[in-house]
C-alpha cells in the first residue's frame, strides 16, 4: 500500500465490545491537505474511528496508518504528528489559558523557554492574549474550545482530528470554531472532522463520508452525494391545503417524477426533476391549466438531510440544522 499522498488510510477497521460492534469493517482514505467530514448519527462509530486513529483505542481487527505510520505499531510516532480535539474541551479548568498551554507544550518536550513562547504565540493567534492569565473557569464555551484547539496545535500537527468540535456551543461559539478551522486548513493541515450537523460538514469539508452502524454507507463530495438523490428538485407551495393532492399529481406528470412528497402543514410538495427549465415551465403551465393557485415555485438542490435520510433509511436520526439541534 502506498500512503505517500494519503494522510489517513484505514483498512477493514473493526472494534468490538463483547458481542456488540462499534466499527464493522471501515475503510477510509483521506488525501493530504484536505478536510474529510465524517457524518453520522449518535452511536454510528464516528468517535470510535477518531479514537483508534488518534491511538487512544486499539482496533479489534484491521489496520490504520496516520501520516504514513501504523497506529498500532508506532503509536508514539503517530502522536508526534497529530492533534486531537475531543468532544469536551480537554483543558485544565483550574489553570489559566497560559498555564494550560505551557503545561501541554512542556509535555510535548519543547523545553521551558520554547514552551512559554509557543504558549504566548498561540494565545495571541486565537485571540486569547487578554484573557490568558484568567482561569479557564471564567471562559465562554467558544473561548474554551479555541484554547483546546490551540493546545492541539502546539506541534503544528500534520493531521488534526476534530470530534464533534461544536457540539454544545452556541451559534457564536460555533462560528468562532469554524473560522479557526478554516484558517488552519488554509495552512495545509489535513483535518478529519466528525459531526452530527450536516450544515457543519457542508461548510467545512472537501469530502464527506456517511457512517452508519460502524460502516461507511456513502462517500463523495457534498455535491456528489446530493446528486445521488436524483439531482435537482422542484418545490411548490399551494394556496389551499385541499388542493395539495391534486397539485401533487399534476406536478408529478409535468415534471415526470416518480415520487412526489407532500407536507400538508406547510402546503408544500416536492419532486425530483431531471431537466430543470423544462420541468419548471411545464409545472407552471400545468398548474395554471388545472386552476391550482401556487404561492411559490422554486428549483433547488437536495439538502444533505435528504441525502442522509435516503441513504441511512430508518436507522439514522440526524439533526437537520443547527438551530433545531441547539433549541
Amino acid at each position: 500500500m502506498t500512503t505517500g499522498d494519503h494522510a489517513i488510510v484505514a483498512e477493514g477497521l473493526r472494534k468490538e465490545y463483547g458481542t456488540k460492534h462499534a466499527l464493522a469493517g471501515l475503510d477510509l482514505t483521506v488525501p493530504r491537505g484536505t478536510v474529510q467530514g465524517v457524518l453520522g448519527p449518535n452511536g454510528a462509530g464516528k468517535s470510535t474511528l477518531v479514537r483508534i486513529l488518534a491511538t487512544l483505542l486499539r482496533p479489534t481487527a484491521g489496520r490504520a496508518e496516520v501520516a504514513g505510520v501504523d497506529v498500532a505499531r508506532h503509536p508514539d510516532e503517530v502522536r508526534r504528528r497529530i492533534g486531537l480535539l475531543g468532544q469536551h474541551a480537554a483543558v485544565d479548568e483550574h489553570l489559566s489559558g497560559m498555564q494550560n498551554l505551557e503545561m501541554f507544550a512542556r509535555l510535548y518536550h519543547l523545553g521551558a523557554r520554547r514552551a512559554r513562547s509557543r504558549a504566548d504565540e498561540l494565545l495571541t493567534r486565537f485571540g486569547l492574549a487578554d484573557t490568558g492569565r484568567k482561569p479557564i473557569g471564567k471562559y465562554s464555551g467558544g473561548m474554551r474550545r479555541r484554547l483546546d484547539l490551540a493546545a492541539s496545535l502546539i506541534l503544528d500537527p500534520e493531521i488534526l482530528f476534530l470530534d464533534e468540535p461544536t457540539t454544545g456551543l452556541d451559534p457564536r461559539g460555533r462560528t468562532e470554531v469554524w473560522e479557526a478551522v478554516r484558517t488552519l486548513v488554509g495552512g495545509g493541515t489535513t483535518v478529519l472532522l466528525t459531526t452530527q450537523y450536516l450544515e457543519e460538514a457542508d461548510q467545512l469539508a472537501d469530502a464527506l463520508c456517511l457512517v452508519d452502524d460502524g460502516r461507511i454507507v456513502a462517500e463523495g463530495t457534498a455535491d456528489q452525494l446530493k446528486a445521488r438523490l436524483g439531482g435537482d428538485r422542484i418545490d411548490v407551495v399551494v394556496r389551499d391545503r385541499e388542493g395539495l393532492a391534486a397539485a401533487a399529481s399534476v406536478v408529478g406528470m409535468a415534471a415526470r417524477a416518480d415520487t412526489v412528497t407532500t407536507d400538508a402543514d406547510r402546503r408544500l410538495l416536492s419532486a425530483p426533476v431531471t431537466d430543470r427549465m423544462t420541468a419548471l415551465a411545464e409545472t407552471v403551465r400545468a398548474l395554471a391549466a388545472a386552476g391550482i393557485e401556487a404561492e411559490d415555485i422554486a428549483l433547488r438542490r437536495p439538502t444533505l438531510d435528504e441525502v442522509f435520510l435516503h441513504l441511512t433509511g430508518a436507522t439514522g436520526t440526524v439533526t437537520g440544522t443547527y438551530e433545531e439541534a441547539s433549541a
Partner: protein
C-alpha cells in the same frame, strides 16, 4: 520512552498539581482543615465520655491513620475529573511518557498528604498529644503513615478508573466511612462485639494505627490476645505492600487500556 522523559514529564505533572494549590487556596485549606476538625471533634466531644486513661494519647495516632486512609477519596476525585473532562484523553494522544500521568498524580497526592499530616501532628501537639519514643521511631511512624497513603493512592487511581465519572466516587465516599470506623482508630476492638472486633483488628488501617502508637509510645489498648495486634509494625508494612502489589499493576494495566 526514555527515562529522562519519564522524569521531566512527571515533574511537569507535579507542577500542574502545585499550580492547582496556588489557584485554589480555599480548597487546599478545606482539605487540610477537615481531618483537623474530625480530630478536634472526636477528642473534645466524644473524648469526655471515654474513661480509659488519656483518650487523646490514644485517639491522635488513630486520626493520623484515618486521614491517610481517607486520602483514597481525594485521589479518586481528581482522577475521575480528569477522565471526565477528556484531559486524560489529551495526555494519551500526546507523545509524552504515559506513566508520567499516574506518577505525577501519586507525587502530588503524597505531597498533599504529607502536608496534611504535618498540620495534623501540629494540631495534636497543641491538644496535648506527645510522642514519647525516640526521633528515629517517630520518623518510622511517619514513614508507615505515608506508606499507607501511598497504597491507598494506587487503590484510588485504580478505583477512579473503574468508576470513570466523578458521580460514581460518591458511592466510594459513603463506603469508606464504615471501613474507617470498623478499626481501632477511635476505640479498642476489644470493646466491640466478637466478630466486629476481629474485622477491626485485621483492618489494614488498624495495623498502621497500632504500629504508629507503638512507635510514638502512646497507649495501646487491648490487644495482646491476637496475632495481628502483636505484630502491628510488621502488618503496617505487609498490608500496604500487598495493596500495592495488587493495585499498582491493575492501575497501570487499566490505564494502558482505557476505553477498551
Amino acid at each position: 520512552m526514555s527515562a529522562a522523559y519519564i522524569l521531566s514529564d512527571s515533574w511537569t505533572m507535579t507542577r500542574r498539581g502545585l499550580a492547582h494549590w496556588g489557584r485554589q487556596p480555599v480548597a487546599v485549606i478545606v482539605g487540610l482543615a477537615f481531618p483537623v476538625m474530625m480530630m478536634v471533634m472526636f477528642a473534645y466531644l466524644l473524648g469526655g465520655g471515654m474513661e480509659v486513661g488519656d483518650y487523646r494519647e490514644y485517639l491522635v495516632p488513630g486520626m493520623f491513620a484515618l486521614a491517610m486512609a481517607f486520602g483514597l477519596e481525594a485521589t479518586m476525585v481528581e482522577l475521575t475529573r480528569d477522565l471526565d473532562k477528556g484531559v486524560i484523553d489529551r495526555f494519551r494522544s500526546m507523545p509524552m511518557a504515559p506513566s508520567a500521568v499516574l506518577i505525577g498524580r501519586s507525587i502530588i497526592d503524597l505531597l498533599q498528604s504529607a502536608l496534611g499530616l504535618l498540620v495534623l501532628i501540629g494540631t495534636g501537639l497543641v491538644m496535648g498529644w506527645r510522642w514519647h519514643g525516640g526521633p528515629a521511631a517517630a520518623l518510622a511512624a511517619v514513614g508507615l503513615l505515608l506508606l499507607l497513603r501511598f497504597a491507598m493512592l494506587w487503590a484510588g487511581i485504580y478505583l477512579g478508573m473503574v468508576a470513570g465519572r466523578p458521580e460514581m466516587v460518591q458511592a466510594v465516599q459513603i463506603l469508606i466511612w464504615p471501613v474507617a470506623f470498623l478499626s481501632n482508630a477511635f476505640t479498642s476492638p476489644d470493646t466491640m462485639p466478637g466478630w466486629m472486633g476481629t474485622i477491626a483488628e485485621w483492618n489494614p488501617m488498624s495495623a498502621t494505627a497500632q504500629a504508629v502508637r507503638e512507635l510514638f509510645a502512646n497507649p495501646v489498648w487491648g490487644g495482646g490476645d491476637s496475632w495481628v495486634t502483636d505484630h502491628a509494625v510488621l502488618m503496617a508494612v505487609v498490608w500496604p505492600v500487598v495493596m500495592l502489589a495488587v493495585f499498582l499493576p491493575l492501575a497501570v494495566r487499566r490505564y494502558q487500556r482505557l476505553g477498551d
